[in-house]
Symmetry: C2
Amino acid sequence: MQRILSAQLTTRVGETVRVAGWVHRRRLLKSVAFLIIRDATGLAQVVVADAAVRAQVEALTEESTVEVVGTVTANTTAPAGVELTAPTVRLLGAPAEPPPFDLYRPALTASLPTQLDHAPVALRHPTRSGALRVSAAAVAGFRAALDAGGFVEVHTPKVVSSSTESGANVFALDWFGRPAYLAQSPQFYKQLMVGVFERVYEVGPVFRAEPHDTARHLAQYTSLDVELGFVTDHRDVMAVLRDVLAGMLSTVADRAGSAVATLGVDLPVVPERIPELHFTEALKVAGAPADEPDLAPAHERALGEWARREHGSDFLFVTGYPMAKRPFYTHPDPDRPGYSNGFDLLFRGLELVTGGQRLHRHTDYLAALAERGEPVEPYAGYLDAFRHGMPPHGGFAIGLERFVARLTGAANVREVTAFPRDLHRLTP
Amino acid sequence: MQRILSAQLTTRVGETVRVAGWVHRRRLLKSVAFLIIRDATGLAQVVVADAAVRAQVEALTEESTVEVVGTVTANTTAPAGVELTAPTVRLLGAPAEPPPFDLYRPALTASLPTQLDHAPVALRHPTRSGALRVSAAAVAGFRAALDAGGFVEVHTPKVVSSSTESGANVFALDWFGRPAYLAQSPQFYKQLMVGVFERVYEVGPVFRAEPHDTARHLAQYTSLDVELGFVTDHRDVMAVLRDVLAGMLSTVADRAGSAVATLGVDLPVVPERIPELHFTEALKVAGAPADEPDLAPAHERALGEWARREHGSDFLFVTGYPMAKRPFYTHPDPDRPGYSNGFDLLFRGLELVTGGQRLHRHTDYLAALAERGEPVEPYAGYLDAFRHGMPPHGGFAIGLERFVARLTGAANVREVTAFPRDLHRLTP
């Protein structure tokens, strides 16, 4: 008999079926015992009246994997309106040791560090697995939106000969006797691939040796990277980002609706045109001094409130950040050279995405490095490609864990990461 | 005027349009000049009669990025039956330095090392970019087949506290003062995630400090990993692999048809049921001694010929490899304990995929490690999960670059990898 999933039970009333899953909970009443089985699609209630089967169920432990054959019976008081009656129960594998916290309660009561220490078990809780389902759906939506736009997926090196973003916060390793570093971003490679495919994206791990132990930082996270050529300026990049975000949220709704409901997530609507403010205007709206070089978290919150109040939008573009605060490959605003063609996207008052137009002329790169007093040599392999014809281009990167944390209201990115890596954590 | 792509020209005859791309080639005849523009979708021919525009075209260099506005004119002798006439040409960015090899010839004549040294330019050649388009389509097909089967995508750590597969061939790094290693595979994590989602997959980089400089080995490659729970044995895993392969090849045909044609790839058909041989039978078919512990490349070739001859199949499963040759987490064949529930998939006489059923009882893991004389401690975090209820499960891993190389007939995996990493190569 083919196994069916708990979600399929409602369509099989009256039939004898086989289900399998984890022992989620047992309730041993006087006259009857209830065995709740958890599988990939939800819960199934099994009603045990027979004394021999009851003895078996009494001996079971939570999280043991079992197989149950029984009759699907309608019962309006059962969880999904159906339950399994007259069951036989078979243990798969070995009896489980009870986990260090109860998985059947609505919320995980263990502290976050305890959950992370026991991640393989903690992730079985619907709130933790739900966040990872949202994450998977968001990535699927990211790819679908870009595939529809003619982007090609690429895979680039995660070990590089020189640090890509700045000298700080890199992990060093020994590469067959030579010094090497874990890639902090696929920035240079995605730019080079614009020369091949015009439009590319990558979903992959990036590594930052963050010495700060905060709720927002991970030493490994999943970066959703996009880069496109033949743009007029950063506005073409922002238009793609708008469509990508809409695609991500729509796929989350489609594919992870049940997880969204479990987590009580209020999915935002992406406006057809996301409101935008130039950096200089954003400072005024946030009530910041006009000579501030960057936006502080309090400014971002004020801007989030402004966007909601004035435009009914959870999203806000801030454009034209000062060049001094952006990386050397940033393209300046031709009309206001102290300001950049770079942007941030704020989501509910928090920075979610950074992007912009990049330099595309070899000579401009040399000038930008010289102006910052940085040597050319570490970037030689990257810069050489710009000698051979690169179109105006730009792109952006979304940190997957931050996106999911903000979307689901998680206070810590570690709640939405299966096995986080940080200053203290290298296991499990 | 909105830019259109070269592939759209045939639908716009008589209209004035804007195209943009790279100067692929120029042909300067006496009466007329031809400018061939390459963009993401192919080539566009521009006919230049005007003296001033001709002077501009004469000054252009190959690989410069340009924008052309002209009239779409039917011409049966032009590449796609259309060309652009009465053009204006505008340089985007700076004039390009000519690349170190000609990109407009049908084949790249530079040696592979030279191509790899100049990868950002070499990848622009249709044979190189075509292989990467096949690769992107194969991954898309992999995901689509698994999404349809209820699998959830996961992202797991690429830095681990102990080596996952064996002590050898790992890259060591300094993790905030602690020793750590680049992950050789997501093997343990995907098994743990079976406890959460039942069925999972991951597409991500894996790292092997391969000291061998061969045409088949890379120090970083992209692993397509799958794991599923509640299996009866390895046959359930093989059935999923069969469908995944069919999905990959069908998506390659759908999404990368033009690249398949450019590369002259003969896409194989995946039989509804891939033929299979037990290891002991495979030795006989290959004419190998009955006490051989593994299949040598010559045996694999002989088996490939047998599968084609006897079953008309490019694919062959070999099952039941001896336990001694499989990793410690391999599940033995309950009926023949010296042999495993592990399998390889041969594609045209070469091993393409390794997979099998895994152990799922904590005590079995302890016994397996003891039998091999391996300590438990490095695996403690992984093994602990098996105390808390794990179903019978199994999975497989496909090396993306090997798959694409064999599919496209590339002699070296480096031909189908954008920026390969190996014993000698850490740039670009």
